[in-house]
């Protein structure tokens, strides 16, 4: 986002809460994410009218109704496309896309990868609950292999996507992961996403307590999470676990888990700004096992699509002057009949 000056330095969380009743199931992880977004937005130094929230269809995609900003609850899978038009029409807007694992990666997969490729300056929050919530519990493209759901009573036979890997394979410039119940981490991640110029992609582990309760227990459950989570922090070694801390080290181009103390100097040091996406990609491959990295995997600068579009228009106007309809129509090929 271009650094804009807030007209009103005193925005609070309340300013961002819309009147409409929130209609998620009691206990749904979406509530926590809503609260986090509502508390981060007022801190970004932009007046309220500069925010737009665009979504597709799904439980998660109800989000815009609960935000007192400009909001567009579009159709299933198409939020990135709608957001593209909106952002190009008004580049001053800070556009947030809210989407689900089905919305973004099933029906919306194509728009998702193209958003990454184009690097439009928008922020995409994918609420990954590994299930289709709104349609009451079919497996999604992030559901684990063998998942039994209403549509797969015998277990699914297709491997899940790793959303961050899909994003990196499509050249994402900002890729992060956080968790619904990790309030502070979530907020910091949202802030970093907002600050990034280009498409920021944040996967948020979200619990659907109705149709897929506990999908993320191994990273949210208090008794195990500190053992299982790898917090990615710039400049810090990739160490996880409290009992007997372990670290990640490179063995050729593969990651190895080693004792953190014993191999202290060999432990990889995180650097989200690395141009080459390979380490980030490596980390995404830890998607389903332990440790599970959270934080910012990658954050690099690249030209944004919207800036490119605007620049061409400005250049054209500068070089040719504002277009004149008269000149356009009454071209050199015209003739006069009198």
């Amino acid at each position: 986002m271009s650094a804009a000056i807030s007209k009103n330095g005193k925005l609070t969380r309340k300013d961002f809460a819309a009147g409409q009743d929130v209609r998620w199931c009691p206990g749904c992880g979406d509530y926590a994410i809503l609260a986090a977004v509502q508390s981060v937005l007022p801190t970004l130094g932009l007046p309220k009218e500069r925010f737009a929230v665009v979504s597709g269809i799904g439980c998660s995609s109800r989000f815009p109704y609960y935000m007192n900003t400009f909001g567009f609850h579009s159709i299933h899978g198409r939020a990135p496309a709608v957001a593209t038009g909106l952002k190009l029409a008004n580049p001053d807007l800070q556009v947030w896309i809210i989407t689900g694992d089905g919305d973004a990666l099933s029906i919306g997969g194509n728009h998702f990868i193209h958003a990454m490729r184009r690097n439009l300056d928008i922020n995409i929050l994918l609420f990954n609950n590994r299930i289709y919530g709104l349609t009451k519990g079919q497996y999604s493209p992030t559901s684990e292999l063998g998942k039994k759901t209403k549509s797969t009573p015998y277990g699914s036979v297709d491997r899940p996507f790793m959303p961050l890997a899909v994003a990196l394979g499509s050249q994402a410039t900002f890729v992060a992961r956080t968790i619904d119940v990790f309030g502070a981490h979530l907020k910091n991640t949202l802030k970093a996403a907002a600050a990034h110029k280009g498409t920021s992609f944040v996967e948020i582990y979200q619990n659907c307590n109705i149709f897929n309760n506990g999908a993320w227990l191994n990273v949210t459950d208090k008794s195990v999470r500190h053992e299982n989570i790898l917090y990615l922090e710039d400049g810090k070694p990739m160490v996880f676990g409290t009992q007997s801390p372990k670290g990640l080290r490179l063995n050729g181009a593969e990651l190895e888990i080693v004792d953190a103390a014993e191999h202290a100097d060999e432990i990889l040091v995180h650097d989200a700004g690395r141009q080459d996406p390979t380490v980030a990609f490596l980390l995404t491959q830890l998607g389903s096992g332990i440790p599970r990295p959270i934080g910012i995997f990658r954050s690099v600068e690249a030209p944004t699509y919207d800036a490119g579009v605007m620049e061409q228009i400005q250049t054209a106007k500068q070089q040719q002057g504002e277009g004149s309809l008269k000149d356009l129509l009454y071209s050199t090929d015209s003739w006069v009949v009198s």
Binding site: K7, A18, Q20, P47, K48, E49, R50, A52, V54, I57, P64, Y65, M67, N68, T69, F70, G71, F72, H73, S74, I75, R78, P80, A81, V82, A83, T84, G85, L86, K87, L88, A89, N90, D92, L93, N110, H111, H114, V309, Q312, I313, T315, A316, K317, Q319, Q320, G321, E322, G323, L325, K326, L328, L329, Y330, D333, S334, W335, V336, V337, S338
Partner: protein, 622 residues
């Protein structure tokens, strides 16, 4: 207007005056046929004739040279009177090779002029064109005034001084042929000479070669007894004004740009390439100096969705495609209906169903754009009647969309998209419409309230302070715009969305009837059949038949006086390039036994087909 023939030499042959001529140039796609045709068109337009043209491309990008599939054609009708179509049957056929002869000969009028390049009738050439025998020798050309010209050799001879390799010289033969046709119709060479100079300015040899070939062709006729006569087609009495030649796709692009200027909105065009609509994208993408944003999306769905997003952001938003792409956009267009955002959707129809015959024309999408969405999801539908009318139609569509906050379809087709005609440029001062006024006042803002006159909801540009609001595809409470499952509200909103479309009829001028104001037969056309039907009816009127013609630009809603007019005639005939779309709508709306005339062959009606059908219908009737 330029009208002297430069370096024209002495003209000694007799001159006949004609009212109307149809010429078709045909050759291999490598022969420069389209360029030749376009040059002839410009020269003819500048000479003050009314005209219409239609190019006929091969379906393949580059079909193998010399084959039937590789034939490229360009037809022009020009006249001192009105011209409504590129003409039924050419009076003159220029055939650059056997394949071009084979594909086109049947269309040539009996005793028509046929110019063939005899140098391309070798054994291999004949084989490639599936000719068993040489048509130049077996008498099959006897019904025509055939001129056998050694085009290649003559061109090479004329260029003997030029240092270019033989292959490049051979390529100049289309200019030689063009020179001949210029001679035949007493046209000046200068416009084409100017063109050659501009186009090849930096390649002296090529420039020289083409200029020489052109002149040589002209001189050849002049010096030689090839043709006994040559012809003049006096200039038409065109309405005074500035003219230019324009094809339908360029016109549509200009229409959008012009509307954006009037409405004082930035123009956003989100689309995905598809034949025959891509040129709208190509044209718009050139005009960044107007602030036009073109977005070549990953698919049609993203194209239309981006436009919907841009509309929410306050742009004049448009998308365009052809039938299969429009089908993909239908779900999203429902979202535009539901969110009551202005959107222009251009459908350049082509022959279907499915992929069909992509390079051929058809009018098969009328019912699709009217009804191809889930539940009642009404849109405004306009159709352009001629290439230049694509400007007006796109322009009007933008005005309606923003006035009523509603999606508006513009139907064009392959025939309009590629066809061209002289266009009298509009007076920019008097173009209708005025700048859009966005809603800005938070105090009076209810996102789903409706203007009592236009039934538009307020257009509040995303980004306007104090107007934060949410829109979306779920049913909304009238007024507040909150999600509503209230049964009565839903019925009200469904009816309101239809009423909004119906309101457009209030602004429509009375239908103009061409011919008697009541009587035996009324032909009703829409879209690109306008030209053939107007011309066909014109012929019949001249013959004293009791027939009239109305043309519908507005398909949804219909003009309010339509039913009343239909009832004034004993029989209604609707010629359409489909199985009877408008026919069905008229029958349902007015309970009149409308007759249909369906031509679904990937090509437009001929004027004569319409005239014959009218005669036939009147005979049955009496």
């Amino acid at each position: 207007m330029e009208s002297t023939v430069e370096d024209q030499g002495t003209v000694t042959k007799s001159v006949e005056t004609l009212e109307r001529v149809v010429i078709r140039f045909a050759g291999d796609s490598g022969d420069g046929i389209q360029l030749t045709g376009n040059q002839f068109t410009k020269t003819t337009a500048a000479a003050g004739n009314d005209l219409a043209t239609f190019p006929d491309f091969p379906a393949e990008i580059r079909a193998p040279a010399g084959t039937l599939g590789g034939v490229s054609g360009f037809q022009i009708q020009f006249s001192s009177g009105d011209v409504f179509t590129p003409g039924d049957s050419p009076n003159v056929l220029v055939a650059m090779n056997p394949a071009a002869l084979k594909v086109n000969l049947a269309d040539l009028t009996p005793n028509g002029i046929l110019i063939v390049n005899t140098d391309s009738f070798g054994k291999r050439d004949l084989q490639k064109a599936d000719y068993g025998k040489n048509p130049l020798e077996d008498g099959s050309l006897s019904g025509y005034r055939t001129f056998r010209v050694s085009l290649t050799d003559l061109t090479l001879a004329a260029l003997s001084d030029n240092p270019l390799p033989k292959k490049s010289k051979t390529r100049c033969k289309n200019f030689f042929a063009l020179g001949m046709v210029y001679w035949l119709y007493s046209r000046p060479l200068k416009p084409t000479q100017d063109f050659i100079r501009t186009k090849f300015g930096d390649k002296a040899d090529v420039l020289e070669a083409n200029l020489t070939a052109l002149k040589a062709g002209y001189a050849y006729c002049d010096a030689n007894n090839t043709f006994q006569v040559h012809y003049e087609v006096p200039s038409a009495t065109l309405t005074p004004g500035t003219y230019r030649n324009i094809d339908g796709n360029t016109a549509a692009a200009y229409g959008l740009i012009a509307a954006a200027q009037t409405l004082e909105l930035p123009l956003f065009y989100g689309t995905y390439p598809i034949t025959p609509a891509s040129e709208i994208l190509h044209e718009l993408s050139k005009h960044k100096e107007f602030g036009v944003i073109t977005f070549q999306a990953e698919d049609e769905i993203a194209g239309v969705c981006s436009a919907i997003g841009a509309a929410y952001g306050g742009s004049l938003a448009a998308t365009g495609s052809s039938g299969p792409g429009i089908a993909l956009k239908l779900e999203a267009i429902g979202l535009a209906v539901m969110t009551e955002l202005p959107l222009v959707i251009i459908d350049v129809q082509r022959a279907g169903p499915s992929t069909g015959m992509p390079t051929k024309t058809e009018q098969g999408d009328l019912l699709q754009v009217l009804f191809g969405r889930n539940s009642d999801s009404p849109c405004v539908v306009l159709a352009a009647q001629s290439p230049s009318d694509c400007f007006t139609t796109a322009y009007e569509a933008a005005l309606i969309a923003t006035k009523h906050m509603v999606p508006v379809f513009v139907l064009s087709d392959g025939y309009l998209a590629f066809g061209s005609e002289p266009w009298r440029l509009p007076d920019l001062e008097t173009l209708p419409g005025k700048p859009v006024k966005f809603h800005t006042d938070p105090a009076t803002f209810a996102p789903y309230s409706h203007d009592p006159e236009t039934l538009a909801r307020p257009w509040a540009k995303a980004g306007t302070p104090g107007l934060e609001h949410r829109i979306g595809g779920l049913e909304k409470q009238e007024g507040s715009g909150k999600i509503s499952y209230n049964p009565e509200n839903h019925q009200k909103m469904v009816e309101l969305r239809q009423a909004k479309v119906d309101r457009v009829a209030l602004d429509l001028p009375p239908i103009e009837v061409f011919g008697p104001k009541n009587g035996k037969l009324l032909c009703v056309s829409w879209g690109s059949t306008f030209g053939a039907v107007r011309a066909g009816v014109g012929r019949c009127l001249k013959r004293g038949l009791d027939v009239a013609h109305i043309h519908l630009r507005n398909l949804s809603p219909f003009p309010s006086d339509l039913g009343e007019i239909l009832r004034r005639y004993e029989t209604i005939l609707v010629p359409e390039m489909n199985m009877g779309h408008l026919r069905m709508l008229l029958r349902a709306s007015f309970l009149i036994d409308v007759k249909g005339y369906s031509k679904i062959q990937g090509k437009p009606f001929r004027e004569s087909e319409i005239a014959e059908k009218i005669e036939e219908t009147l005979e049955v009737q009496s």
